[in-house]
Amino acid sequence: MKILIIEDERKTADYLLQGLTEQGCSVDVAYDGIDGQHLAVHHDHDVIVLDAMLPGLNGFELLRSLRAVKNTPVIMLTARDGVEDRVRGLREGADDYLIKPFSFVELFARLQALTRRGRLHEATLLRVGPLHVDLNARRAQREGLRIDLTAKEFALLELLARRQGEILSKTTIAELVWDMHFDSTTNVVEVAIKRLRAKIDAPFAAPLLHTIRGMGYVLEERSTNS
């Protein structure tokens, strides 16, 4: 994934650069609106992360001039929580927005969602190591043993399996499994994960469902102890 970050706040830009590079993305960074506009217009990126408040040329102006020539997906970062900023950003052609302070996991999930659009590969049988998830039969089994899951547990497992190896935040999980579109402070997701883990991991030797403290959950087969 080729990403352009246009952000004047150095620390933010730098950790985004490092984080996204480590996630296997190729990242360009611009620290002001003028450079950002140049890079955005003259180079091709899969997605652009654009701060709304920029020196030189602000994010909205940049977005407008970019939209005049190309349709690269743009996710806007706004510090102000005003509805005007959000509405304005979306009206000017932003594809998504995040309000500061946002979490990195959240940003990465949104970036993937934006670039994944239109290229959904529909597998019906997902495999995570010894775990098999049959989406047609709505059935899961591990090491030959059938696992009984409730509908929501299955939906949760399906999400984790489809996005295996990817850290999913609690917010993303609540959004995609329960259709709850807000930052919830409940521990519903924790409890649901705990229950799922009891079914898919507890009876077996190697855990598949891992907690990344402070970030979220990931379903993957880890070869050695980590």
């Binding site: 929580d81 929501k152 609540a174 329960w178 709850m180 402070t185 409940t186 519903v188 409890v191 402070g214």
Partner: protein, 460 residues
């Protein structure tokens, strides 16, 4: 802009009224005087006619003509009176152009005023016909009296009346300015009272007993406006303190833990542990800040956008489903009663119901039933969540929706909600043109909110 003085305006208006009144009285007096003087003039003319007509009617002597002329000469000696006699007999004629004046006075009844003679003196004239007697033929006797003296009286009166009226009006102006200034003293006191009110003397109010009737309503509404501002100010103050307090704990943890960790060489595993723990604290900070910003948006009057007509029972059902695992763990059940369609932003609605359910789950005893009640109202809809609970005092119910308020102050600073949950419900209600309510009765605690119909949908 030049500010207008009430006292000056009042004085101006009073003196205008006085001027008009005095002028009317003056006019009336003037009219009365003019009438009296006219009457007097008529009498004068009549007297003059009488003087001669008696002689003409009763005189029988042969030289009556001469005697009449002598009498006229005597009577006109003052120069103010003039006589005319008209007869077919030229011997009886007297005065300048008597025929003409006899005709004129005959054609009009009563007294006439007309200019006469070379000096064009203004005269009041009247005439009578005197029947023929043996001593003289039929006569027309006309007498005229100079109007100048009477006109002079009127003129003098007018000349004096004008300054009297003007002086009177000025006097009234001065007096009423003084009176108005005295009358407006309560206003000065009001502003003195108001001047004393400041950020550090917020308990000061306008002194109501001192205020006159006309200012009492202003005073009381001003005072209640101050009460409201004071309450908001106090809330804001304590709120700032609360925010600082809420942020202090995670910040202290972050700083302390980081310092302790950096004081020694640590292995990668230990460092990761610390970073993860820090991340949790930071997430907590982020949630507080995001929630605060959300509340601030609602407080600025932002309304829910992206509203759609929705079956509330369906959305409450979805939210309850979200809580399934928690309800199951706590051995609780939720009954959804009623339904209504309202125009809401579903994500906000979910959030409000989530917070209500979360609140109910925290307070309901194990194994209890929670009831989610929905009903349509004329304005929109009402959603409430009830759970069995210990009775809550009314003053606590009032504060339930305050930010960072916790019914149970001793409850550990749990990660869930930060005491903002119900404040957020309130914000969401107000974003939909609704309000929140809470009551505690017969061991059942009910917390809910209303939705204000389509009012939230107007804005896009």
């Amino acid at each position: 802009m030049q500010r207008r003085s009430i006292a000056l305006r009042l004085a101006g208006m009073f003196s205008a009224v006085a001027l008009a009144g005095f002028a009317l009285i003056g006019l009336a007096v003037h009219e009365l005087l003019a009438r009296n003087l006219a009457h007097h003039q008529q009498e004068l003319v009549d007297d003059r006619i009488q003087d001669l007509s008696y002689m003409l009617e009763h005189g029988r002597s042969a030289d009556l003509v001469d005697r009449v002329h002598d009498k006229i000469a005597a009577l006109t000696g003052d120069g103010r009176t003039q006589y005319w006699l008209w007869s077919e007999d030229p011997a009886w004629r007297y005065g300048v152009d008597p025929r003409n004046i006899a005709e004129v006075t005959r054609s009009a009844s009563g007294m006439l005023r007309m200019p006469v003679g070379a000096g064009q003196k203004q005269l009041a004239v009247a005439g009578i016909d005197i029947a023929a007697t043996p001593a003289h033929p039929p006569l027309r006797l006309v007498a005229g009296v100079d109007t100048a003296p009477i006109n002079q009286i009127l003129r003098r009166f007018e000349i004096r009346l004008l300054p009297v009226i003007l002086c009177g009006a000025l006097l009234v102006a001065a007096l009423s300015y003084r009176v108005a200034s005295v009358g407006l003293r309560p206003v000065a006191q009001l502003s003195a009272d108001a001047r004393r009110i400041g950020p550090n003397t917020r308990d000061q109010r306008l002194r109501m007993p001192a205020l006159p009737l006309e200012l009492a309503e202003f005073g009381s509404s001003f005072n209640s406006a101050l009460d409201r501002l004071d309450a908001a100010y106090t809330q804001l103050e304590s709120f700032n303190a609360d925010v600082a307090h809420e942020l202090r704990t995670p910040l202290a943890n972050l700083i302390g833990q980081t310092q302790v960790t950096l004081a020694r060489e640590r292995g990668a595993v230990e460092l990761r542990e610390v970073l993860q723990s820090n991340l949790e604290e930071l997430e907590r900070l982020r949630t507080i800040v995001s929630d605060m910003l959300f509340l601030a948006r609602a407080e600025r009057g932002e309304r829910a956008a992206r509203c759609v007509a929705t079956s509330l029972s369906h959305e409450v059902g979805k939210t309850v489903e979200f809580f399934d695992v928690l309800l199951d763990d706590a051995g609780l059940g939720v009954d959804i009663e009623g339904d209504a369609t309202a125009i809401v932003e579903t994500s906000l609605f979910h959030r409000a119901v989530t917070n209500l359910l979360q609140n109910a789950i925290q307070h309901a005893p194990r194994g209890a039933r929670i009831e989610a009640h929905i009903e349509g109202t004329p304005e929109g809809a009402l959603v409430s969540v009830s759970n069995p609970s210990d009775p809550v005092a009314p003053e606590q119910l009032l504060r339930l929706f305050d930010r960072f308020y916790r019914v149970d102050a001793s409850r550990p600073n749990s990660n869930a909600n930060h005491g903002l949950g119900l404040a957020i419900v309130k914000a969401i209600a107000s974003m939909h043109g609704g309000r929140v309510f809470a009551h505690s009765q017969d061991g059942i605690m009910t917390v809910g909110f209303t939705l204000g119909g389509n009012r939230g949908a107007g804005e896009a």
